[in-house]
Amino acid sequence: MVTRPRRRFISVLAGLAAVPFLRGRDARAAADPLAPLVEKLTGGAPVREGRVSLDMPRLADNGHSVPLHLKVESPMTAADHVRSITLLSERNPRPLMATFHLGPKAGRSELITRVRLNGSQRVRAIAHLSDGSYWSGSAEVEVTESACLDAG
C-alpha cells in the first residue's frame, strides 16, 4: 500500500533522478570544447555546417596513424575557391592539428593525409573560402590500440 509518506519519498526520488537530465541540456550547449579556438580562427565570423566532407574510418586501427580524406565543394576558380582548411581535434593535447593553404592554382580542394588521435573523438575541418565564408565538416572516430604494449 502506497502511503502518503511513501508517495512523497517516491516523488522526491523522481525529482532527484531528473536533475542530471536537466543539467544535461545546459551541459550539451557548452559541450563544444573547440568553440573558443574556432572563434579565434574565424575572428568571430559564423561557421556553417556543410560543403566540407571529412572521411575517416569509424574505427581506427591505431591512434598513431589514422587516415583522413578531406574534400571541400568548390569550383576552385580565381573567383571562387578554398583559401585554407584547418583541422581541429577535440581531444588531442594540441587541438590545432594542421592548416592547409590552397588557392585557385590547386585545381581540386582535396587532400589526403594521416593524423594522430589521442583517443576516440570528433575531428573537425574548417574551410575558409575566397568569399570570406567559413564552412565546416567533421568525422567521429573510435580509436583502439593494440593489446600488447611494446617495450621497444
Partner: protein, 289 residues
Amino acid sequence: MTTPAGFARHPSYVKEGNSQARFELSNRSYAHLRLSAVALLFAVACAAHAAEAQKPSPLKSGLDFAGADVRALQADDFANPGMLWVARGEKLWREPAGKAAKSCAGCHGEAPAGMKGVAARYPRVDPGAARLVNLEGRINLCRERHQGAAPLQYESDELLGLTALVAHQSRGAPVAAALDPQNRASFERGRDFYHLRQGQMNLSCAHCHDRNSGGKLAAETVSQGHGNAYPIYRLEWQAAGSLHRRFRSCLFGIRAESLAPGSPEFVDLELYLAWRASGLPIETPGVRR
C-alpha cells in the same frame, strides 16, 4: 610365503597361497610388457612432439588478420611508410662504405637484379661463419668481409633500410628456407623455443599463434605469427622494425625475460618460423598495426 623369483619388488603381483595367481606373469613376459610400455610411451611422446611442430593450415599471412586500412596502406606502394626505408636502402646500396670504400652495388649490381629471390632462402647457415645467419646478419657479414665496415646496429635506420631493400626484391616469392643436416640443430632449438612456456604468464608462442590465431587479444586479432612481411612498418612503433623487435614485444607481452635483437636464439626461432611459413609469399615491407 614364498615369492616367485624376480617378483620381490612387486608384492602386488604376489598372491598368498600355493598356486600361482591367474594374473601373475612370468619374469620374462613382465620384462616384455615393460619394454612395450616404454616403447609405447616413447612413441606417444614422439607423436605428441611431432604433432606440436605443425604448420598452421591453411597458411594465412598477418595481412589476413589486419583491418581494411592496414591492408590498403600496405598495398599502396607510395603511401606504405615502409617504402621510406626501402628508399633509404636504395641510397645506402649505392654508397661506398668501410675501409675498402666499396658499395653494395659495386659487387652485386643494382638491387633488383642482384638480390631477387635471396631473402626467401633465409635464415641459412653461412659457411664462413659456420652458423645460422638471418638477412641482417648476412648483410653485416658482407660489410665486415668485403667492405671493411663496422656492422650496422639492429633497429638502426641503415640496417632496416638495407634489409628492407633486399627482402623487398623477393616480394611475392614464397618463403623457402630449406632444412638440412647443417641447420637441423638450429631448427630444433627454434622449434623448442616456440613451444616453451615462458614468462609470468607462462605462455609459449604456440598458445597464441597455433591454438588461438584468429581469436581476440583485447582489440588485437591474433595472427599465425609468420615473419614473411618483415621488416615491417608498425603503426604502433611509428617506424619500421625487425622481426626480432616483434619477438621482444611478444616476450614483453607475456612478461618473459627478453633477448637482445640479433641473439642466436632469435635467429634459430626465425628458421622455425620460416619452415612454418613455407610457401607464404614475402610481403616486405609489410604494414601492421
